[in-house]
Structures are given as structure tokens and as C-alpha cells.
Symmetry: C2
Subunit: 413 residues, 2 copies
């Protein structure tokens, strides 16, 4: 048991008891006998962030091929480098990504990449949570379809050894995956009660191509193919028409907004406020560093709010509460994780922030300060599942993680 | 003299000699006898930032009245608080603002607020540079016009005691200032060879109102009234038509882009790439924290680049070099300050960044990392005019500056 003494919570100072992996008790004063008492004077507690869309192992591609058209960028910069990637690179790359996530207050992320067992090892080592889907992408090649399906089944059958890691499977997109792959993955997800993911309507071109090929828009297609539901996650979803919004709502499908990536790649601005008004479940993700180029959910909240206000042409769009909820509660809820709010009974996933940090003063509105002013320097401690993963800004083995990462980057350059 | 040993500059490791307030020499190896040798292993040197538009003393308003319409926000939140503001509040408020600027790598800013002598004291105390205009705003009241003109003259006549502070005068806007005030300020600026500033075309409403009242758009009006020229600075300039772009170019007038503030207040997106293509001089500013809510130029570069790519619907817009130059070189140049690039003969305004900081790896593109990934935690040292204003992340009297600021916030709440 850990007792947090004198911590700011929603404007008041209180004590918080962490028992096992839960927030057990919150009260003005607690004098429980505990293993450890943490003096939190001048610190505030906030829920940690859930980054619902990223590609952790792409860390080595940060800053590569800036300001190029998609095709040139992929062909000249990304593909030649990714071709060198081997399974043994994934562990140090993912660990480095998780280092950055923890420094910026994230304790859960959803990944989409190859060599999942290696990413899983990194997640376990760093002590945070993740949703780690097997990624299917057959390029309409029957042989690849079958092998993807077999590998997905194998992935789903593998017994879970870590409760902090959620089983999932994922199709890359409607423009890289066949009907059979998408439908079979839908069936498998239902059979194994697993989460399903896909990139959807990231660009107008994707929508136009889909209409030309299939006679309907991506969301309509995925609805027909049985892919949608409350355990299905659509990354991006920038370009949805009213009928598609209705399908997302009806099925309880979750959206993963990646505003920085969308702006940086010129994919467009999600009409966030329109989706929120329609009652859609919207979460927030950074996407990979090759198109962001950071894994900071603090920066992502700011860009999300600014972009939404601009798109809606209204300062009333994407309020402080909306932006903060998307980055915390909505993300955890989407993957059935009882976190994202500081309340009794919830999982003890939280951050402590320094209330004397220059960005958090004056304390007129802590959430607004976190969204619009804060950066990683505000965060002193990060807990996941009741266990500290960062203490006084220090993460175990940080020097080793950085040195291993540099070595891999040098190997892949 | 200070010798920086083994510092990364444009991808190479070198030594840099600072002599007085200048970058005196850059070479592979230097073995000059100096007052101090700074070991810069694993650090890179970059120019510091120039924030060309802010209202430093508004720090106490950070996070106040979020997500409200302009009118409600001003009436309910801002005006009642600003009404309590006295000259003695300005020094601690400005000092706090400068603390945040230094932490985020800024060594020069342009302010626009009341009680200039108090801000000037704060700038001198903190050791950075500033352009501090007297702010005229007469609300079309003849008495105020005359007193503003008298005060502007007095401000311009005051002898400069600090070479790091530039003389300037400023009209608030065409919707708060009379023709006589604007024309008289234009004449005074010419007479005293001072910089001139004004908020221009921040919102479409401002443009529409101007057309209705004067029969022409704001930039056309200011041109007619003799306000434009290479020493004139237009803050915001979101809504310019092609004729106005031509006037800005012809006169060499400088623009101050404040993308975060424009997005947050729903004012629109500056067509930055269009302006750059037209050859306009564009600098970058944060605006005040009441509409940003940060003074970080790092965050501002990211928002500027993302917003420009979105507005232009092209990833080729606002390149890494464009964004970085706007935040550094262009800003200093606009106010005749020989800084913003690390080269021999330039003023020694620079920052040192930690190349092992998680956001700056891999080092594929340092400027891109600074724009898209970095935050204040990357910056270890800040020099202005050859003198360190932050050393190993420490700024002199930081605790006192924070405590004085908290006291003022409490007085004004």
C-alpha cells in the first residue's frame, strides 16, 4: 500500500491510498499504516494518458524526410529504412518509445506494427499497459490472406500472461486488405472477444478510391463486412459523411483522432465537434513519430483543441474538458480499462505534476494548463497499475534504453 | 571570453569562442586562453528564439475563461481582472513571463502592454532583449488622442540606457485608434527612427467593419495613413487580400504570425505559404498567455507548421527551415538585431540543447526535432548578448520570481 499525502485533486488537498493496483481511498486525511508514504505537497494528481494510436517501433524514423510528398517520402526515405528492420530491433525501439510515453504521462497505448511479441516484451519490461494487435495486411494476395488469418488465430490463442496487455487484431486499411481478410478478422474478433482495429478514411483519396472500387465509402463497406461494433477502433476517421457518422454511432465503434499527423501529412481536419455533438466516442492518439513527430499526449491535446476550434469556426468547440477526456477517460474506456479518472475503485494509473512548475501557474484551471501550457517538465511521477514507472523524473535504466536505441538507429541508418 | 568546447553545430563538432557579446570564432579546435571553458559534449548550439508578439504582463490571466465567446470572456473574465492591475504588478508579472521565455529558449520579445517602464525594469533584471513600445489606444476620444501623443513623444525622447531594449511606439488597432493617432504615430516613428506596431486584420469582422467605416480594408487604410514601412510590424495579419499582400511587400512591412492564438480564438488560419511565396517577411509570436496559453516558441513553431500545411493543403508548405527561420532569424532581423544564426560576428544569443534528451533522438534532423518533438526539457543553457541567463536549467532567483508572481496573482484574483 502507498499513501499519497497532501496531494491536489480537483482544487482540494487530500490524501489518497493506493492498495495493490487500485485507488482504494480518497479523503481529507488518512492515517493508514502503509508500506510507503509519498509527500505530495505542491503536487497535483491527474489521470495518466491513453494514446490510442501509434506505431511505437517507428521511433528510428523521427525527422526523416520532412516536407516531402507522401510518395517521395515513402519511396526515398521510409521503405528503404523499414526494409532493414529485423525482429531484434523492435525491443529497443519500443522501449525507447515507451520511455518517451512515460516522460509525457502516458501509461497505456495501442500499437499497430509488426513483430508484436517483441513489442510485448518491451511493454512488460517498462511496466505500462498496451493494446497489441496482430497486424494483418495482405495487399489482396490470397497466400498472404491465409497466412495472416493463421497468424491472427495463433496470436489470439496464445494465453495472456499479462493482464495489462489487451488482445487485439487489426487490419491495416480497406486499400491494403482484401474483403476476405477483413471479414475473417471480424469473425475472429467476435469468436475470441478481442478488440479490432483499422485505419479508416484518413485521406479524401482513400474515400474516393473506395467509392470507385466498391461503390460505397469505407465506413459503409466496413459496416457491410461486419467489422463495426463497440470493440472496434477506427484510427483517423477524418472524412466521414453524415450516414457514416450514424453507422459509427449505431454500432458504438470508437474513433481514434490523430490531429497532428492529419495536419502534418495534409490529410485534413477531423470535424471533431460535429462528431462530439453526434455523441460519437472519440479518443486521442499521436500516430507514429514519422508523422507527428512526438508521442506526447500533452502536445496532442493542444493540437486537437486548436484544430477543432478552427474547423468548427467556434471557440466553443473542443472544450478543455472534452480535450482532456479524449486523452484520458475515453481512451481507457474504449479498451475496457477502468482508469482515466482519479476516483476510488479505479485502477491506479496516474501522474503527479509539480504545481510550482512555471507552466502550471497560475492555477486558474489545471486541465487547461495541462492542455495548452504544460510540457513533460511538469510531470514528476508516473504510476501504472499502482506501481511507479517514473519517480522524481527518473525512469529505471534510462541511460541503457537511450544507448540501445542509438545503437539500433545507427544499425538502421 | 567564454569558450564552448565540443559543441554540435550543423552536424559537426566544433569549438566556439564568445568574446564580449559576440560569437567571435568558430573552428574545429580552439585553444584560446579564456575566462571560462564550457564543456559542451553531447550538446548542440542553436540560435535562441525571438518572440515578436506578446503581452507579457497578462501571465496572471492564463487559463481564465476558457472556451467562451470573445465578448463573454472579455466582459466576465478579462476586464474585471485587468481593472485591478496597478503599475507595481507589472514588474513581477513580466519577470515571470521572461522566466518562461528563457526556459523555452527565447532571448528577445516584443511586448504590447501598459506601464512600459515596469516591463523595462523586468527585462533589464532578467538580462534578455526586448522591443518595448509605448501603446496608444484612444477609442476615438480627442482627449485621449492628445495625451497618447504626448506620452509617445515622452517615451521616444527618454534616453536609452540599455542597448538590448529597442524603442518603439504602437497603436492598438484601426478599430480602437483614431486616424489622427495613427498618422501622428507614423510621423513620430519616422522622426525618432523608431519601430512601429499595430494589430492588423486579426479577424474577418475587423476587416468587414473597416470596409464599412472607411470604405477600404485595414492594410489599405494604414498604407494611406503612412503607417507602413520596413520598421513597421503588423501583428496577426490573418486576413489579407492580394492587393494588401502587394502593399506589405512593396513597403517591406513585417508580419507577426500568432497561429496558436488565431486558432484558439477562432480567428482563422493565416495563409502562411501564400505570404512566403509572395516574399513577405514573416516572424513568429505567441501572443499573450490569455489566448495561447504558453510563451513557448517551440510549441509555436509546431502549430505554425501544422496550420500552414493544413491551410495550403500541402505537406510542402512551411518547411522545417521556414518554421525555424521565422522563430529565430526573421524575428531578430525585423528589429535590426544581428542574431538568429550561429555565425562569426553575430551577437551571442543562443541556446544549448541536450542531445541525449529523449525528444532529440535520433538526430536525423535537429531543427525538425526542435519544431515537432522538443519541449523545454531539451534546453539546458540560454545565453543572451554573450551572458548566460540560464545555466544547467537554472535561472537566478527562480524561487523568488515564482513566489512574487503567486502573490500578485492572489492580489488580482
Amino acid at each position: 500500500m502507498i499513501l499519497l499525502k497532501n496531494v491536489f485533486l480537483n482544487g482540494n488537498v487530500c490524501d489518497i491510498l493506493i492498495d495493490g493496483n487500485k485507488i482504494a481511498k480518497i479523503a481529507d486525511k488518512l492515517s493508514t499504516v502503509t508500506d510507503e508514504i509519498v509527500d505530495c505537497s505542491d503536487k497535483a494528481i491527474l489521470p495518466s494518458f491513453c494514446n490510442t494510436h501509434t506505431h511505437a517501433s517507428m521511433m528510428f524514423l523521427r525527422g526523416i524526410g520532412e516536407d516531402k510528398n507522401l510518395f517521395d517520402w515513402l519511396k526515398q526515405d521510409i521503405f528503404p529504412r523499414e526494409a532493414k528492420l529485423k525482429p531484434e530491433h523492435i525491443y529497443p525501439l519500443s522501449r525507447y518509445a515507451i520511455l518517451e510515453m512515460i516522460k509525457t504521462g502516458t501509461t497505456c497505448f495501442t500499437d499497430m506494427y509488426f513483430y508484436v511479441p517483441e513489442t510485448l516484451r518491451a511493454v512488460q519490461n517498462m511496466g505500462i499497459r498496451a493494446v497489441l494487435p496482430y497486424l494483418g495486411m495482405d495487399f489482396f494476395d490470397d497466400k498472404k490472406t491465409e497466412s495472416s488469418i493463421q497468424q491472427a488465430i495463433q496470436h489470439l490463442k496464445e494465453p495472456s500472461r499479462n493482464l495489462k496487455i489487451k488482445k487485439a487484431i487489426c487490419c491495416h486499411s480497406v486499400y491494403t486488405c482484401s474483403q476476405r481478410l477483413i471479414q475473417e478478422f471480424s469473425n475472429l474478433a467476435k469468436k475470441y472477444d478481442a478488440y479490432l482495429q483499422i485505419h479508416v478514411s484518413e485521406t479524401q483519396k482513400e474515400v474516393d478510391d473506395c467509392v470507385q472500387k466498391y461503390g460505397c465509402r469505407p465506413v459503409e463497406l466496413l459496416y457491410k463486412w461486419g467489422f463495426m461494433g463497440p470493440k472496434t477502433f477506427f484510427a483517423h476517421a477524418v472524412h466521414l459523411n453524415d450516414d457514416e457518422i450514424e453507422l459509427v454511432k449505431k454500432t458504438g465503434t470508437v474513433l481514434g483522432h490523430c490531429p497532428t499527423s492529419n495536419l502534418k501529412l495534409g490529410s485534413g481536419q477531423m470535424p471533431l465537434q460535429k462528431y462530439l455533438n453526434a455523441g460519437l466516442k472519440v479518443t486521442l492518439g499521436t500516430d507514429g513519430v514519422s508523422s507527428n513527430n512526438s508521442l506526447s499526449m500533452i502536445s496532442e491535446m493542444k493540437v486537437a483543441a486548436l484544430s477543432a476550434k478552427n474547423k468548427a469556426d467556434s471557440v466553443l468547440a473542443a472544450t478543455v474538458d472534452d480535450a482532456f477526456r479524449m486523452a484520458t477517460q475515453n481512451g481507457f474506456e474504449a479498451f475496457g480499462i477502468n482508469a482515466g479518472e482519479i476516483k476510488e475503485g479505479n485502477l491506479a494509473d496516474f501522474i503527479l505534476v509539480d504545481m510550482n512548475n512555471q507552466f502550471l501557474l497560475p492555477n486558474n484551471n489545471l486541465k487547461s494548463n495541462m492542455i495548452y501550457a504544460a510540457d513533460s517538465s511538469c510531470i514528476t511521477d508516473v504510476f501504472c497499475d499502482g506501481i511507479p514507472v517514473m519517480r522524481d523524473r527518473k525512469i529505471p535504466h534510462e541511460a541503457e534504453i537511450i544507448s540501445d536505441f542509438k545503437q539500433v538507429c545507427s544499425d538502421l541508418s
